[in-house]
Symmetry: C3
Subunit: 151 residues, 3 copies
């Protein structure tokens, strides 16, 4: 027979193992890949050639920043395909893209799309960033727990 005391000590030892193991096995994928809680994170997909939609995406950036607080949310705007015009030098919303960048949002153009349309970085708004493939960027961020919105 094992005494109650001894049984309890086995149970506590195993309880500890259990807690650690539960932590290792059961964290949602987002938390695992981020390593820690990172607050609100939103990717906005822009793939329409309509300035109405571009303005709408930029309104959404503002609304999200107002709702969560600018410092408490990470926002990425990713333009690809028919949406690439939003980030060209002659974009109707060039000023507003600049304001979004100033406010802390990241803005990325898809290099796949640029290659397909023979656009170089000289054709694009300054200060924006680039990703090899817009759609893969969106898929990856979603897998890491970001919210994805297509305004």
């Amino acid at each position: 027979m094992i005494g109650t005391h001894a049984k309890k000590s086995v149970i506590s030892a195993l309880g500890a193992v259990l807690l650690v193991a539960a932590g290792l096995f059961c964290l949602p994928p987002a938390a695992q890949s981020a390593g820690q809680h990172t607050g609100h994170r939103v990717v906005l997909q822009v793939s329409d050639d309509s300035p109405k939609t571009w303005n709408q995406a930029l309104n959404v950036v503002k609304n999200i920043q107002q709702a969560y607080g600018k410092d408490k949310v990470r926002i990425e705007v990713v333009a690809f395909g028919n949406g690439i015009g939003m980030l060209k030098m002659d974009s109707e919303v060039g000023n507003r893209v600049g304001e979004a960048l100033q406010s802390g949002a990241k803005v990325y153009a898809c290099e796949n799309t640029m290659r397909g349309r023979k656009l170089s970085k000289d054709d694009m708004l300054s200060s924006i960033g680039y990703v090899p493939a817009g759609v893969i960027e969106i898929i990856n961020k979603q897998k890491q727990g970001w919210s994805v919105i297509r305004p």
Copy 2:
């Protein structure tokens, strides 16, 4: 040496602890925040100014209700930005929005958008609901495990 009998009783005690702990730690986030399993839940985003898209969203409401059974699915339609016209008094799909409400779907207009377009509740279809920011409503529901579709 511990007898087989004693070993078994330690193992069963710990098995129980394990089951409870697994339940606490490993529920998916949706189930955790909802408190219990809640069946099918779908948010439909409407942010285009096209009556074609509005009709499509209302068709999707019907198709989802047919597939799951009206009583076994919660559906929210959230209109914001260029989609707000769907819910204005003079909307081309006003009757169908009424039918969707009758069928048990919730329909919400974005108050951010309304403020930006100087719309008051008097300008809107009766019986609809309101949310402070359509995009935040969609992000929140998605985090709670709802499916999000932009028809």
Copy 3:
């Protein structure tokens, strides 16, 4: 008192139980329903009546296959509502749909939409597949862990 040796053997037995149980309880829903890790899986929603969008969706198929490797990703294109024209016999992008099918992507038309528009399988491109309700297909795949993109 239990000897150290005996305690260790209880702990290892329970460690094993723990690992198995953690495996059963804590796998994400996607992995559970798939039975095993299945690599990248992406559903593309097509619900616009614009050939520009159809071409964009087919570009996205290519870009995803290039990024992950054709053999390392499963892609489904699901057309419903206003997007059904993409898969009709007279579709402007019929050839490209054929190429996507050749490349290993699956392409499905929504039977709900077809019924609503009095389309039969004879009106559709050959070699495509069919789903009872496009939107339900997308919701189900998302629940199983697939990424959903609406290009």
